[in-house]
């Protein structure tokens, strides 16, 4: 069965870094360009993220993630370039439309921020197995009950997708219309979603029972089948990232 994940199974130095360090990288890549809001900072962070993705041999997988938002970023560029309040310096003209420097710069800054956050998350997502991420979080103190919820979502969605396929075919063969006017399509929604929802909700009782009889509500400390992988250099990475955020703050205050 497929589980829901964007993880790319590779052997790379980035893959071997622990999930907590990658979470801290997201924090740093988001916070530092906000603390030091120059285009240069954003560009440096962008370059580091791209380098890490290349090192992790997962750069190609980022492109579809980014292309989803490229369209929105383009509309931001157009709308802000044309209409942003405070637009005074015309930069260029397309027909009767005048694009302004201030609006375009603002749009570039926003786009860089969004892309930076996306890439930082992409490093975590593409190079970390979700199950490893959740297990690490539980080891670090996340409630094991929440850990269960996170892991089980990744399995339940593909299962529900399978059910959905079956239901769609069944309803179509009964002659239900999934084409036609808006009213027709709206009416089709409940019969499509109803059966999956009902059956999955009724299954929650049995699943809860199954968990209970396996000691899910036990109060004692839980253990782990898998051994925790700890490398000495992980600690250096974490401290390095925290330090870089602190340095950025100091720089901001001093400057």
């Amino acid at each position: 069965m497929e589980t829901l994940s964007l993880y790319v199974d590779r052997d790379s130095p980035v893959h071997r870094v622990d999930p907590i360090s990658k979470l801290l990288y997201i924090l740093a890549a988001t916070a530092i360009p906000i603390i030091l809001p120059s285009l240069l900072t954003a560009a440096v962070v962008l370059a580091i993220s791209v380098a890490l993705l290349l090192l992790g041999r997962t750069f190609r997988r980022v492109i579809p993630l980014i292309s989803v938002i490229v369209f929105v970023l383009l509309t931001i560029l157009i709308i802000q370039g044309l209409f942003r309040a405070g637009n005074v310096t015309p930069l260029f003209q397309l027909g009767s439309l005048i694009f302004y420097r201030e609006g375009l710069l603002y749009a570039v800054r926003i786009s860089l921020r969004v892309i930076n956050i996306m890439l930082a998350f992409a490093i975590l997502i593409l190079t970390t197995k979700p199950s490893d991420l959740f297990e690490t979080l539980v080891r670090k103190g996340l409630s094991p009950r929440i850990g269960y919820v996170l892991s089980s979502v990744l399995q339940i969605i593909p299962q529900m997708q399978n059910t959905v396929g079956t239901i769609t075919d069944a309803q179509r063969s009964r002659g239900m219309e999934t084409e036609g006017s808006l009213a027709v399509r709206l009416r089709a929604f409940i019969p499509l979603i109803g059966p999956v929802v009902m059956s999955s909700l009724t299954q929650t009782r049995e699943r809860s029972i199954a968990l209970e009889v396996r000691g899910f509500s036990a109060k004692g400390k839980k253990s782990f089948l898998n051994e925790e992988i700890q490398e000495p250099y992980h600690r250096f990475i974490r401290w390095g990232l925290l330090l870089s955020i602190i340095l950025a703050l100091v720089w901001r205050v001093a400057a």
């Binding site: 069965m1 892991s151 029972i209 199954a210 209970e212 000691g215 509500s217 036990a218 253990s223």
Partner: protein
């Protein structure tokens, strides 16, 4: 040694008007195999869930009387503490998979991790349980990729690994195809030969006749009979409780072939053969 003592157990579900169990009393000895039979709505599943503490701790509702399992009083114990004494396997193999683990091996570990066992102990128990249930070769598969019978054996292995003294099986084959059922019954054979105390609800009455030391006949939330299978299946009013006697009993009854010593109809193939043999 008494493993289970049920004393005047009464129970009503929270959204119900009527009692699901109306004062049930029975005692089960160590190593016994107890078959539970009766029509739909007799309270069989409720009784099973009362033995593992889901009634009342999971459902809440109204509760009276007492159940003592492996020395623990159910009403005063948490489900997770009871889980170390008594395990439950139920109908749907699919919903018994936790859904949080990606391999069969990790799935069995789920309960052991909750118990806080150390790694070495876990690995030993998981290997043993998977081997006993004959699913070790699937250890790296995703649990949801197994067949119904394999999944149900995984559910049993997951319970076995927790080393309970008693296992309750609530219609473990009712949602399986014939091949899956046969796989599960073979697993039940093994548990019985290991000397496990077992309580099983089952519609395939021949299986009850084959395994059970005693049979509990339930109807309308009451315990109608609790006796050796040959006695329960010989009741002339059995069909009134929505239970058909084993096929061998029915044939022998039609042919009027009785066991000479007891004067009762045989309930298994072996019994029937022996009874026919003694005629000649």
């Amino acid at each position: 040694m008494k493993k289970i003592i049920v004393d005047n157990l009464k129970y009503r579900y929270p959204s119900a008007q009527e009692l699901a169990l109306k004062g049930i009393s029975l005692e089960i000895e160590k190593g016994q195999f107890i078959g539970v039979i009766g029509p739909n709505g007799a309270g069989k599943s409720t009784l099973c869930q009362a033995l593992v503490g889901l009634v009342p701790h999971f459902y809440h509702g109204a509760y009276g009387g007492s159940v003592v399992v492996g020395g623990l009083e159910v009403l005063k114990s948490e489900i997770s503490a009871l889980a170390l004494k008594v395990g439950l396997v139920f109908q749907n193999p699919f919903t018994q998979v936790t859904g949080a683990k990606l391999t069969v091996y990790d799935e069995v570990a789920f309960g052991l991790e909750n118990m806080g066992l150390d790694r070495a102990e876990m690995i030993e128990r998981i290997d043993r349980a998977l081997t006993l249930l004959d699913i070790y070769r699937y250890k790296d598969r995703n649990p949801f990729d197994l067949s119904g019978g394999q999944m149900q054996r995984l559910a049993i292995a997951s319970i076995i690994a927790m080393k309970p003294q008693i296992i309750v099986l609530d219609e473990p084959t009712s949602q399986l195809d014939p091949q899956g059922s046969e796989e599960v019954f073979r697993a039940v054979d093994k548990l019985k030969s290991e000397g496990m105390t077992l309580v099983m609800v089952e519609h395939k009455i021949e299986k009850i006749a084959e395994y059970a030391d005693k049979v509990a006949l339930l109807s309308g939330g009451e315990l109608v009979d609790f006796d050796r299978p040959i006695r329960v299946f010989s009741r002339p009013d059995l069909e009134r409780f929505g239970v058909a006697a084993p096929v061998y009993t029915r044939i022998c009854r039609d042919l009027k072939i009785k066991d000479e010593k007891t004067g009762l109809y045989p309930i298994t193939l072996e019994g029937a053969v022996a009874a026919v043999g003694s005629l000649e």
